[in-house]
């Protein structure tokens, strides 16, 4: 019992020291209270984890501000308002027109304050990024964002093959071959590991630019470009090999006749056969 108590005291002291080193305790929320909350959270969420390691992974100063706000500290709200209100409004304006953006931003701020939604922030990201996610979520829920979702079906892939300029011979046999080829493309895409699949989906399905992808994937533009290029090459190789192996001679001839350099276009069409659901005005 003594050893457990000693370990707890040591852990408590370590968390206190960490908080004191990292956080500028400028509100009525004291180091002790904040440390208590952190320890409580670790026991709730990550029972087996060391509290110090857990706390080290957090944006403690942002969490301190959010916690103080959630406790109704006026000074904390003043700082929060100064640091984040403009960002919330500006971020909302990325999705919406001025009036609608103001409505959404006001609603978010009201939620954060009245419903103490700030309590939901857990410090795993910066407060700013979390607020960005909150605004995005609110804008989508308000039905103001164009939804793009993939309906990857054989017909769509087949049509995309057709549209991409694949060799078109209006015969039943070739029609069946194209269907089989579409299946190959779909399977090759399905066999990708999730990371690569996500990369392709963000690029082709969601239509993000490399610049936009760097903001959410924390990878440089050059690296993303290289990865996409390598992915396209790998896919080409896989599809070609499978086509040669699985399809019969005539189909193999069709595959050979296909211009594989156009696979990028095909992928774009295959992954980008989007169902656009537009609710309300505006859009991203």
């Amino acid at each position: 019992v003594n050893q457990v108590a000693f370990a707890r005291d040591a852990e408590r002291a370590a968390v206190d020291a960490l908080v004191q080193a990292v956080v500028r305790c400028r509100f009525t929320l004291t180091v002790t209270t904040f440390s208590d909350l952190l320890l409580e959270r670790v026991r709730e969420c990550e029972p087996g984890q060391s509290a110090v390691e857990y706390a080290k992974a957090l944006c403690l100063d942002d969490l301190y501000l959010a916690t103080a706000c959630a406790q109704g500290d006026d000074d904390a709200w003043r700082e929060f308002r100064f640091r984040h209100f403009t960002y919330i409004s500006d971020f909302a304006r990325r999705f919406l027109h001025d009036a609608a953006a103001r409505d959404v931003a006001d609603q978010i701020i009201a939620d954060l304050w009245q419903r103490q939604r700030l309590k939901q922030y857990n410090g795993r990201s910066t407060l700013r990024t979390w607020l960005g996610a909150v605004v995005t979520h609110a804008a989508i829920n308000a039905g103001k964002v164009v939804r793009r979702s993939t309906t990857l079906n054989l017909e769509a892939v087949e049509q995309s093959q057709h549209a991409a300029g694949a060799t078109v011979v209006a015969s039943e046999e070739d029609h069946a071959t194209r269907r089989e080829f579409a299946v190959l493309v779909q399977r090759a895409l399905g066999d990708l590991d999730p990371e690569h699949k996500l990369l392709l989906l963000l690029y082709y399905e969601q239509g993000l630019t490399l610049d936009q992808m760097t903001t959410i994937l924390s990878v440089s533009k050059a690296t993303l470009s290289r990865r996409l290029e390598r992915l396209r090459q790998d896919l080409r190789t896989v599809i070609e090999a499978r086509a040669q192996q699985q399809l019969d001679a005539s189909a193999a001839g069709l595959v050979t006749a296909l211009d594989f350099s156009r696979l990028e276009v095909d992928l774009s069409a295959a992954l980008g056969t989007v169902t656009v659901q537009k609710k309300g005005g505006g859009g991203v």
Partner: protein
């Protein structure tokens, strides 16, 4: 991410942590797996990416910076730079000590070797020096007076437990961190007196000069001469 075998969407904290690249490897794998399968979450992530890319300062950059700072190569480079800068600074500081003495004492520097024995300056054997010079050791240089030039040269002041550095004509509190985005209150010459009446504890800092930046109770006060 899954409860009782039913896949649920990652919450906003997880999405934000993914964007900030702060998830542990195992957590990231789960989130990526979900994102690659869930169109709804991808829509949200893509919308976030589009909006975020439009901002000049993006959170991932600061995260990236933090990560870059964690890299050993970066630290080695930084350490080397600091060492070189310190060495150069010391050399410059020593080289300028004569000028300091002129300015602080108001008299020309005394040659360590009498002018009567100019050759001794080249190779100063003890026997060649004048007897009075040997008997009375050369006076130590006086500590530089805190006149304006010296202040600017040293560029560091300790005041009330705070350290101020002179940067581009402004005394900047070392506690100031632009990335912390604290509220900034600009105090012009006209409002200076009223603020100091209201907050007399800032008077010593404001007395440092016309342009002072001090962090006090979570607020950055920027005293400006304009």
């Amino acid at each position: 991410v899954s409860k009782a075998g039913v896949a649920v969407h990652p919450d906003l904290n997880a999405i934000a942590a993914f964007v900030d690249d702060r998830l542990a490897h195992a957590e990231r794998v789960v989130v990526v797996q979900h994102l690659s399968e869930c169109a709804e979450c991808r829509v949200m992530l893509a919308a976030f990416g589009r909006a975020q890319a439009a901002f000049p300062s993006r959170p991932h950059e600061s995260v990236g910076l933090t990560r870059r700072l964690r890299a050993p190569a970066t630290w080695l480079l930084l350490a080397a730079t600091v060492t070189i800068a310190t060495s150069v600074g010391l050399l410059v500081s020593r080289g300028g000590s004569e000028a300091d003495r002129v300015l602080s004492n108001g008299r020309p520097p005394q040659p360590e070797v009498p002018s009567a024995a100019p050759t001794a300056a080249v190779s100063p054997p003890l026997s060649a020096t004048a007897p009075e010079t040997r008997s009375t050791p050369a006076p130590k240089p006086l500590p530089p007076a805190a006149d304006d030039l010296t202040t600017r040269r040293s560029g560091v002041r300790q005041l009330g437990g705070k350290t101020f550095r002179l940067v581009a004509g402004e005394w900047v509190d070392s506690d100031y961190d632009p990335l912390s985005l604290l509220p900034v209150e600009t105090v012009s010459a006209s409002t200076r007196a009223s603020l100091l009446d209201r907050m007399p504890e800032l008077k010593p800092y404001a007395a440092l000069g016309p342009n002072v930046l001090v962090v006090h109770r979570g607020v950055v006060y920027r005293f400006s001469s304009s």
